[in-house]
Symmetry: C2
Subunit: 338 residues, 2 copies
Amino acid sequence: MTSPRGFLEEAGEFGLIRYIAELHPDKSRGVLLGIGDDAAEISFDPEMSILAAADVIVEGIHFYREHYSPEQVGRKAVAVNLSDMAAMGGRGRFILCQTGLPPGIELEFFRRCTGGMVDYAREMDMALVGGDISATEGPLFLAVTILGEVPAGRTIRRSGASPGDLLVLSGFPGESAAGLKLLKRGDLPDNPALRHLVRSHLEIEPRVELAGLAADSGVASAGIDLSDGLTSDLLHICQASGTSAELERDSIPLSAELVEGAGFLGLDPLDLALNGGEDFELLLAVSPGAAGELVGEARKIGQKLTVIGRVAEGPPRLTMVSPGGRKILGAGGFDHFG
Amino acid sequence: MTSPRGFLEEAGEFGLIRYIAELHPDKSRGVLLGIGDDAAEISFDPEMSILAAADVIVEGIHFYREHYSPEQVGRKAVAVNLSDMAAMGGRGRFILCQTGLPPGIELEFFRRCTGGMVDYAREMDMALVGGDISATEGPLFLAVTILGEVPAGRTIRRSGASPGDLLVLSGFPGESAAGLKLLKRGDLPDNPALRHLVRSHLEIEPRVELAGLAADSGVASAGIDLSDGLTSDLLHICQASGTSAELERDSIPLSAELVEGAGFLGLDPLDLALNGGEDFELLLAVSPGAAGELVGEARKIGQKLTVIGRVAEGPPRLTMVSPGGRKILGAGGFDHFG
């Protein structure tokens, strides 16, 4: 409470709150009272269920400040939560953010990080409505809570998968993990594939539009976003649904960029795709009769979907099926304590 | 990501989440889906406005672990948010908590802290519905978001005070600040007054019932909870309402315990009452015709209210009125960066 904290002592908590309130004087639909009082006052449509997601990102655990621009840090804190919303079929509406600012952090960082958060909120049609700013003697953290909505009765839960459902995956898993490994290695050649992988890690794209499509159509029996890794998150669906699952090795989508990046790193691209974390792609369980139409509808909004396996009877475990045979997989996903 | 983290590595993030979900298998009204999926699914009454408050507490800034039992840390993280809810006239319903666990923290601490949070949630008729658990290399933090409700159109905002309104305060300000000073000094004699002050700091009592009374009656034109200190928080009302305010020196309620504790510390009890922080009492602006009835109704629920001054015309500033004359006050409240 007595150590020097640079601009925090100068600007003070209330000055910083005024700064954010002026940066984001939000008059969005549903914001009755935004930043600056003891609580925000918001309203949702009564025909929609309210969803609440709360993910924190901590420097040194979820990100390194030398890898990210300040704007990207602010964006990421919101995007990881928006991805949780998408995994439930929902759309984010309101953001609250509690931040811990370490000693010596500069006002310029704060401004740019907040700006990145607010710009991204606008882009995604969300409003920052409150939060808290504190000093900390430790690393920077941003604890974001997002409130969102989904049509009543349309939430996509982890627990609804049934044997026979197809497993449908958005995008290309493994790219974010490859990007993180490239960032940690550093000193990269200027190469479009490597740049793409790094960007996949730094600027995740929550699958909000796809989530809306899946929730509106009602065809997804279960879903999750890949934050821990494909195998680890698929196992979460199996555990919640009381099923097992089979992955078809040759159907796992490997991007050309991932294959090139894995080659550069001397790693197996399939291993990255199965066990890399922070993909933030959506993994959905869909009844076989409806999967084709969902894939087609997704294509219309520019979203690649791939059928990568199926839900099966049996205890929660994963089996990899390949032309050479079948084998039980361990879950090697990203664990933030690992 | 590679340093030893004791039980966190052992139990893992998912084990800890399962632990909390089993500790709190909540089937409360309004919880459609609680802990364990990507987001919680909750519902509110459509005739109620939704309130969202998000206050973080950080070790070394808002609390010292040697002062608090683990249960009290968990309780405090929720109570400070519930007090924000109360300041808006609202009642908390749902809790989300993001926690950063420092290296070497023990499972026993985690269990007891979580237990304190969950027990307090039950006591206050709230449900823990989600959150996030992360490691951090820095001090412990608990970033709690509370979602609450208030009858539509009945929120008590900071901005509604009018010249002529009376200022009504719950309880006894300054006790929490005195308690903190006693804790920092340590080596205290075993004395009921000092124990009372320490407890006032460690176990704040958000004025939830009083808030409900004020919101239902509609008589409060403005309100705030005293987190920063009486003068500082009253100035927030003045700034938001575009008014000044007068405090009557001889009406500021000083408890016998505060007077005794201030004597022990060699401090002025009035200074502690005016400028001490973390009281979490409610300060309301009420029209003169309605104040008497509110004070009477509050007495019926065992809540002491005192008229301590009035809202006045003029730029945002505070005047202290005493038999000896009038003087302009600075705002000396608690600043978490101070």
